[in-house]
Amino acid sequence: MLKPLTILAALAVAASALAGAVATAIAGAPQITHFTLSNGLEVVVIPDHRAPVVTHMLWYKVGSADETAGKSGLAHFLEHLMFKGTDKNPSGRFSQVVATIGGQENAFTSADYTGYFQRVPRDKLKQMMEFEADRMTGLALTDDVVRPELNVVLEEQNMRVANNPAARLGEQMDAALYLNHPYGRPVIGWRHEIEQLDREGALEFYRRFYAPNNAILVVAGDVTADEVRTLAEETYGKIPRFGEIKPRLRPQEPVQQAARTVTLADPRVTQPNVSRYYLVPSSSTARPGESEALDVLAHILGRGANSRLYQKLVEDKNIAVNAGASYDGTAVDNTRFGIYGTPKPGTSLPQLEQAIDAVIADLVENGVTAEELERSKSRMIADAIYANDNQRMMAQWYGASLATGATVDEVRTWPDRVRLVTAEAVQDAARRWLDKQRSVTGYLIKAGRPEEKRS
């Protein structure tokens, strides 16, 4: 019962897997409708009539990368506080209603967006919209509820990061990858800054960013576009547009000129590993076709047992227990392309890293085979069909994409663009973007036995 379950950085990864996952230009795919209310609220409707259920999601185009420097964690803290009630619906009434009908609810924060959702019987949709619209502007906070919630967030940080050496290394790697951009800050925040967050700061952030013209409503399920339009106008439609939502102009990265390395040593590391992030374009910043090529590249290089890294390092050379790659395409600004390897006993991290580099160099030099390309593309396109089986996944993918600057058409035609990716485009993407000067490599190692302290 981890609620509000904050997906945080993990969502970025999930969204990227989905980015490979969804499309509607496929037989049997739903007809997606998209419109904008007069107050600027964008609305996406994804029909799924298999069961009388709806998934109602409200996305705000604000995340940790929109925080003021020095207040890291504020977007996520506010997400927690959004469950504390309004004047009209005090202290948890919204959640109680969802619970009473057996509904599901949750919320999540990433670097680029914050989202809230409920899954309920279709006849409760209007009620969810009323509650969600009410807390778009009506949040009421007292220190009595804010202070314990700050402790909850600190426990969340303990659970996700402080207790986990690999997660601590991940934070350090992000901070090293981004020299200037706020993606270098943890979504949950740096602990010393989380500790200083307060009610006034949260409300100020809320008033600045929570508005209909900075939000996207996604409704997936057993509804029609007309029904959603009517209900949305009756609820969200009554909230006035907020005067000024500034464009999301974050400090951008300079030309990166030096490969970085980060080492985290902890006595609790029993299984060392090596990983690397490259700074690469996202679907928002890439040239046409480039983000799709990076998707295919990540698949060929490192998704699953057929991938190059797994085949070469785990199966052929027998020097790793695992190896893979990932790409987070759903982001406003330049994002990460990740690779990782876990050595077998007897293999050192430098040996493994060298072997990983050899796999990459071979791909850059010789490209990918037609068989790899076709296999990977058909697997990725099939994911788009499978995604239709999961209402929440569909809503999440459209929401995350729109919140990071994509259009509904771009989401819908994603499989078509994947089909067009050529072997040359994949090789070009590898050559251009898997450049160590734009990367950080992280080593997770076991620390030596600490000095005995006696008291």
Partner: protein, 470 residues
């Protein structure tokens, strides 16, 4: 289509027994219902089917009785390793060829082991249906256990076990089960240990699959764009070559031991992980549904549980806290967990025990009792959000012997529980005392017994506060 009332029927052609059409979506009447059919193949293999052609895909889930509970004493991890290897090469295909074929057709096939059941999942596009079922057949009937695949898998599990030895969550859980079920298969970790894994041989793996993978222990569910007749045919083709009967080692019914004990394992982490639990109520017990309601009120899955409210909402002591009823074939449990900062660990454990005792003594209030019932009635259908999840639930209903009309009957079963039942069962469920395991450097916790320091760092000072009452 022939309609029969008898649950199993053998014939020379696909005989489909349509026993019940069940409306799954009772929370919202007036909407279309999903129909669950009982399909019995010509060869006598049964599956529950939801035929839904809205999407061009098919999901299959199955469970075979006999998993980690069948691991030889002192050699845990055999079933888990075997399950991990079923898709690592089968029939004419080595691991790479097998994975390559699955990926080319976007067929998802995986196996996992639990305490009592080996479970499998298949998902395929409709166009690749026959090929997908064929790979499932090969994995079940002709797994190769090639040396390279066995050693690779062994190394992967070992790597995971190495990490687990310093994971507070894993240590807390392993200690709980080892203490709760000494000398019983449930006391052994499902994934094995770093000592047991090296000793597992290919013969162990083959002997396990030969004993367990059989037609009599199977429960199967299929959801998607496939009709009953085709399902029946594919059931025979996929599972028909398995032996008729499994040869399971008998397992004794057990109740958790160590109630009243608190075991602290030192680990140098800022947040302490706490597992707590005691006896539950068996699935077949007439009090089960009342217990399910009581558990929901104590620590179930919504914002409103007592533990959530007291530990998280009011005091900010934890991010997550929950309790669950667990029903296994040979034991039933109430098991919960949370995690909190070192200096608040004693306070949190006291609070959990106090809440459990209070609910046991006083029972739920009328208001929370009513709310819990409406939650539990609504949440069941809302949780069935993908084809595979529906199939999993249909497998579970078969394992629990609930009947194909259970979803239809379930709301009435919940409604039949009275507040007096809930009070009586709260006492029965919550009055036994708890076995508590703690991992970290907890403040304010006096162990009834010290655990083993799991970290090379120096041990923390013993807790200062007095032991809480048991």
């Amino acid at each position: 289509m022939n309609v029969h009332a008898s649950p199993r029927r053998t014939g020379t052609r696909a005989v489909t027994a349509l026993v019940a059409g069940i409306g799954l979506w009772l929370a919202a009447p007036a909407a279309q219902a999903m129909t669950i059919e009982r399909v019995v193949s010509p060869g006598g293999i049964e599956a529950w089917l939801v035929h839904d052609s809205a999407l061009p895909l098919i999901a299959l889930e199955f469970a075979a009785r006999g998993s980690a509970d069948q691991d030889p004493p002192g050699k845990p991890g055999v079933a888990n390793m075997a399950a991990s290897l079923l898709d690592e090469g089968a029939g004419p295909f080595d691991a790479a060829a097998f994975h390559g074929r699955l990926e080319r057709k976007a067929i998802e096939l995986s196996f996992r082991s639990g305490r009592d059941y080996l479970r499998g999942t298949l998902r395929t596009l409709k166009d690749n249906r026959d090929e997908a079922f064929d790979y499932l057949r090969l994995a079940l009937t002709e797994p190769r256990f090639d040396d390279a695949a066995v050693e690779r898998t062994r190394a992967q599990i070992m790597s995971r076990l190495q990490r687990d030895t310093v994971s507070p969550n894993d240590i807390a859980s392993r200690t709980w089960w080892a203490t709760g079920f000494p000398g019983h298969p449930y006391g052994q970790p499902v994934n094995g240990t770093i000592d047991s894994l090296p000793s597992i041989t290919v013969d162990d793996l083959k002997s396990y699959t030969r004993r367990v993978l059989a037609r009599d222990g199977l429960k199967i569910a299929v959801v998607g764009d496939i009709d009953a007749e085709t399902t029946g045919m594919l059931l025979d083709r996929t599972f028909g070559a398995l032996p008729a009967k499994a040869k399971l080692t008998p397992v004794a019914y057990a109740v958790p031991q160590g109630l009243g004990r608190r075991i602290v394992t030192e680990l140098d982490v800022p947040q302490s992980v706490v597992n707590f639990g005691g006896p539950g109520i068996p699935r077949r017990d007439p009090d089960f549904m009342a217990a399910y309601i009581v558990n929901h009120i104590l620590g179930g899955g919504s914002f409103s549980s007592r533990l959530y409210r007291e530990v998280r909402e009011k005091r900010g002591l934890a991010y997550g806290i929950s309790g669950s009823l667990i029903w296994l074939d040979y034991a039933s449990l109430l098991l919960g967990s949370t995690a909190t900062r070192a200096d608040a660990t004693g306070q949190t454990i006291d609070l959990v025990q106090q809440q459990i005792r209070k609910l046991g003594e006083e029972g739920p209030t009328e208001e929370e009792f009513v709310k819990a019932k409406t939650y539990l009635k609504g949440s069941f259908a809302l949780g069935l959000d993908t084809s595979n999840r529906i199939a999993s639930q249909l497998v579970q209903m078969q394992l629990d012997n609930l009947g194909i009309d259970y979803i239809e009957r379930r709301p009435a079963l919940i409604d039949a529980v009275t507040l007096d039942d809930a009070k009586r069962v709260a006492k029965r469920l919550l009055d036994s005392g708890l076995l508590i395991t703690v991992v970290g450097r907890p403040g304010g916790v006096s162990p009834t017994q010290g655990g083993v320091a799991a970290s090379p760092s120096p041990a923390a000072k013993p807790g200062q506060a007095p032991a809480s009452h048991e």
